[in-house]
């Protein structure tokens, strides 16, 4: 009798699922959780090595809804970055993966977010962006577009903070945007981001069906479907599939990833080359001026040392270092005492 289908490390997809979601039916966040489940399964990520982090919000609840056997930390509102930074410094063998909301990231958490980018913490940061605070019942967040309307007609008068632009300008080395309803693209982007070393941010439009899915919203399913503009067709070929890479043809180009995998980009639409930061910034500025919602990977760069490497941390988890490596010797203390005599 054949057992259940497993991935390359021999685990069934059920090991990549979590407890059942308590979010509203149709919430974009659930689609992202499911896509993450698939991406992590297909990438063969070891669940027990993953630290799933989040802040507070509907979006921040979702780490419970995928990858059950992983470690999870649902922290405080807007402060996931600091908690994740500490955790990943403490244990370099952990795979950092975080889910946050637009409020959690761009409103209350903007300070910690920008500093996490600056420090190049090795972390996959997914923003489930619905333009509102879902959990507190639909107030505007800082990513809401100027002129967009709440259900009760309230108009947002302020310019939005664009997470991708901000991250790119602060030196993030993997910057992407996606739409939760476009799962085909999202899964490829997630896989590439998982393979990326260093900080990766994916700003995913994730409609809130309860508070921001009406006419006049710029984060509704309809708006997304009508305005999504892929900047290229993006694919990810993991390392273990590598032999198949090649012969992409004239319309494709490949970007090698540090883990051995390959990003394959098809020159459709704007044919954006994600290695070109200048072009990425131009695209994003263009996007800000138009109703179009550009998706794809704006920028990828390998080789920038992530924070633990930058600090030259030992490779082992700090938790299990023997005492001799964390407590200096008796002679050292004598030397210190002597210097104060």
């Amino acid at each position: 009798m054949a057992g259940p289908k497993t991935n390359r490390i021999g685990l069934p997809v059920t090991d990549y699922r979590g407890v059942s979601s308590t979010l509203c039916k149709g919430c974009g966040h659930d689609v992202i959780s499911n896509t993450l489940t698939t991406a992590l399964y297909e990438m063969g990520v070891e669940p027990w090595r993953v630290a799933k982090m989040s802040g507070i919000g509907c979006s921040s609840k979702t780490p419970a809804y995928f990858l059950g056997p992983a470690w999870g930390f649902n922290s405080v509102h807007g402060r996931m970055p600091s908690v994740a930074t500490g955790a990943l410094l403490a244990n370099r063998t952990l795979i950092g993966l975080g889910v946050s909301g637009d409020g959690d990231t761009a409103s209350i958490g903007i300070g910690q977010f920008v500093h996490m980018v600056r420090r190049n913490v090795p972390f996959l940061y997914v923003v489930e962006n619905n333009g509102v605070y879902g959990l507190t019942k639909g107030q505007f967040s800082a990513t809401a577009d100027e002129g967009s309307r709440l259900k009760d007609g309230t108009v947002n008068d302020f310019a939005p903070i664009d997470i991708c632009t901000l991250a790119l300008e602060l030196g993030a080395t993997f910057v992407a945007r996606a739409f939760s309803a476009d799962r085909k693209q999202l899964i490829e982007i997630l896989k590439a981001a998982i393979a990326h070393e260093g900080f990766a941010v994916i700003d995913v439009m994730s409609p809130c069906v309860t508070f921001n899915n009406h006419v006049g919203s710029t984060r509704s399913y309809d708006y997304g479907r009508n305005h999504e503009g892929p900047i290229h067709e993006f694919g990810f070929v993991p390392a273990w599939d590598h032999p198949e890479v090649g012969g992409g043809g004239e319309d494709t180009f490949d970007v090698p990833m540090p883990d051995g995998g390959t990003i394959r980009v098809q020159r459709v639409g704007r044919a954006h080359d994600p290695r070109d930061k200048g072009a990425a910034l131009r695209l994003l500025h263009e996007d800000a001026e138009s109703p179009e919602y550009l998706t794809g990977v704006f920028y990828v760069r390998a080789g920038k040392p992530p924070l633990p490497q930058f600090l030259k941390m030992v490779e082992e988890p700090l938790a299990t270092l023997p005492e001799a490596r964390v407590r200096p010797t008796r002679e050292t203390l004598a030397e210190i005492n002597e210097s104060y005599r």
Binding site: E46, P47, W48, R49, A51, M53, P63, A64, P69, A70, W71, G72, F73, N74, S75, V76, R79, P81, S82, V83, A84, T85, G86, A87, L88, L89, A90, N91, T93, L94, G111, Q112, H115, R119, P308, L311, K312, M313, V314, E315, P317, L318, A319, T320, L321, E323, R325, V326, R327, P328, R330, T332, L333, I336, N337, Y340, R341
Partner: protein, 612 residues
């Protein structure tokens, strides 16, 4: 008597080894090395000394004072009256000179013409600016070198041993031979100037004393930092704030020196200067969750910002150490003045229920020991622990016992590895197995994939599952409270002293030093015997309750306006509240003995009023 010395008609006997010396300079003028040279030389003469730096919240330009007390009796609390004054700051000279009692020795830059202000003190006008030109060619360095001239002047005037001054200089400039030469010349110039120009004997002098104890001279922040490093801290995140910065800076410095492998260049200590205190405490909580021994250091405003996260640490049971070097609040307050003002906020930090263990070191040796102990305590209880130091302890130099090497191995508390987990039946992250309220934890990233759980600051049950059930919540809160009970057997016990009288004095932290002297004064001068309890930790141990019960009247002496410790004691021991009386000191300066004994004397013996 020489013309540059004008003596008042206050001859009197020469006082030996009992003086308070104050140097008034301008902030940023580099007088610290000179002041420490004086302090160190006196210390090496076997004299009990203490040095207090009174500095403004400013980088350069405002007045600053350094005060050294030499006390043959061994007292280290400051004294109100200054006996020897050095005036170099035009802005404060008049006030400074007018503030000293008659008969004091006043050394001043001659152009300040301090003789205008007093004729009842011993005035020594020194041409500092002229002298520095002679010994220091480079104009840019004169501002610094001039300070060493007053070191020389005082050395000769009050009898500091030249050899000890030389040694202190050698130590200060060990790696700067050029500067050493210049500074030596300056000291010599000061000494020679006095020899040639002053014939009068100073009314205050020092003489070598025998010291039978091995002591070091160190500040409390350094001591705490050494304690943290020897506790095996592995992640430090912090945000700069006076007066705590040097705790983090020293940990980082020691880390570079002793925790980085010279061959591989790799370190076992991560140091992050965070973007603010929210991030600092978030990082150390994240790090501790992932198994690091983590810490942060901060002061009042930072403590306020850390509030939400400390509640998370309490509720999700994540151990970390927070060194709070208290300064004068509320708000920005007096950022460069001392206070014991965060007692309530530290013990109760964050919304909702929750109390946090706090340790109250009173000298650098204890700062070292408590900083180290705080890690075992935090990890043993799986909760944030505070070390409540203050600016006086943290930033001033103190004589203290040398640091002792820990004899016990590091104790990480109830941490399960795969093997341990396999032996546990029906493990739950928040299950009380041992009846002490402390559950067993696992650490993320074990290669074996066991023991994973979901941590959250929202409601959770014994198996770390999300819950909104009232019963689950009640069980958790009761267990957390039980942990505080458990803490009582692990925190340092109070130190008791006294003959067993009805009057008790209760103090903690740096307030101790004024109390020691005040009790002697109360007994010797006023005939009032007191018992003394020096509190060293919250939660209060049973011995604290018993001691209060044994005293009719207990004076709680503390450095804040609201009587925070008295309130905490009253909250914990409501039936004893009526016995507790506040004696408070809160002008931002370290307390002197008088601020302790005077209110007690007035209260205990009303007739003392007006006298003493």
């Amino acid at each position: 008597m020489n013309e540059s010395t004008r003596a008042a008609e206050v001859p009197g006997p020469v006082s030996v080894n009992d003086l308070t010396l104050r140097v008034a300079t301008v902030n940023g003028s580099g007088s610290q090395t000179a002041n420490n040279t004086l302090l160190r030389a006196l210390f090496h003469m076997g004299l009990p000394v203490s040095g207090k730096n009174l500095f403004p919240s400013n980088i350069a330009g405002l007045p600053t004072w350094f005060t050294i007390r030499v006390s043959g009796d061994g007292y280290v609390a400051p004294k109100r009256d200054v006996n020897v004054l050095v005036c170099l700051n035009p802005a404060s000279a008049e006030d400074d000179v007018r503030s000293v009692p008659p008969g004091s020795l006043v050394v001043y830059e001659e152009t300040l013409r301090c003789e205008r202000y007093r004729d009842d003190v011993v005035l020594v006008a020194v041409p500092f600016q002229k002298l520095v030109k002679e010994v220091c060619e480079p104009v840019a360095l004169r501002k610094l070198v001039v300070n060493m001239i007053y070191v020389g002047v005082l050395t000769e005037l009050i009898g500091i041993e030249v050899a000890e001054v030389k040694q202190a200089l050698d130590k200060a400039f060990a790696h700067k031979p050029k500067a050493l030469g210049l500074n030596r010349d300056a000291v010599r110039a000061g000494i020679e100037w006095v020899r040639e120009n002053v014939s009068r004997v100073s009314p205050f002098r020092v003489e070598r004393m025998a010291r039978d104890e091995d002591l070091i001279l160190v500040d409390g922040n350094t001591a705490a930092a050494v304690g943290c490093v020897f506790a095996g801290v592995t992640v430090l995140a912090w945000y700069p704030i006076t007066p705590s910065s040097s705790v983090a800076e020293t940990v980082a410095h020691l880390g570079e020196r002793y925790r980085r492998d010279p061959e591989t260049g790799e370190t076992t200590l991560a140091v992050v200067q965070a973007e603010d205190e929210l991030a600092a405490v978030g990082m150390v909580i994240g790090a501790a969750w992932a198994g690091a021994r983590s810490m942060t250091a901060t002061s009042g405003p930072g403590i306020s910002l850390m509030s939400e996260f400390v509640g998370l640490g309490y509720f999700a049971e994540i151990p970390t150490v927070i060194v709070n070097v208290q300064r004068t609040g509320p708000s920005t307050g007096f950022p460069t003045r001392t206070q014991q003002g965060d007692l309530l906020s530290a013990a109760n930090l964050s919304h909702g229920d929750g109390r946090h263990p706090c340790l109250y070191p009173s000298d650098p040796h204890e700062a070292y020991e408590f900083a180290m102990a705080a890690f075992d305590l935090a990890e043993g209880l799986q909760t944030p622990v505070f070390v409540l130091s203050d600016l006086d302890l943290g930033m001033n130099l103190w004589m203290t016992k040398p640091f002792e090497y820990p004899e016990e191995p590091i104790c990480r508390g109830k941490v399960l590895d795969a093997e341990g987990l396999a032996k546990m039946e029906d493990w739950g992250r928040y299950k009380d197995v041992d009846g002490d309220g402390v559950p067993y934890r696992t650490l993320p990233g074990g290669a074996d994939g066991v023991g994973a759980y979901f941590t959250r600051g929202s409601g959770h049950d014994a198996y770390a599952r999300y819950t909104e059930k009232g019963d689950d919540y009640i069980a958790t809160m009761q267990r957390l409270a039980l942990k505080l009970e458990t803490a009582k057997s692990r925190v340092p016990e109070p130190v008791l002293d006294g003959p067993g009288t009805a009057v008790g004095l209760l103090a903690f932290g740096t307030s101790h030093h004024a109390v020691v002297e005040a009790r002697d004064h109360l007994r010797d001068e006023l005939g009032i015997e007191t018992d003394y309890l020096r509190l060293r930790a919250f939660p209060f141990t049973d011995s604290v309750r018993e001691w209060i019960e044994a005293h009719e009247r207990v004076y709680v002496f503390e450095q804040n306006h609201d009587g925070q410790m008295r309130r905490m004691l009253t909250m914990e021991f409501p039936s004893l509240g009526a016995r507790l009386h506040s004696v408070l000191h809160y002008d931002g300066l370290p307390p002197d003995a008088r601020s302790v004994w005077e209110p007690i004397a007035l209260d205990a013996v009303p007739s003392v009023k007006g006298g003493a």
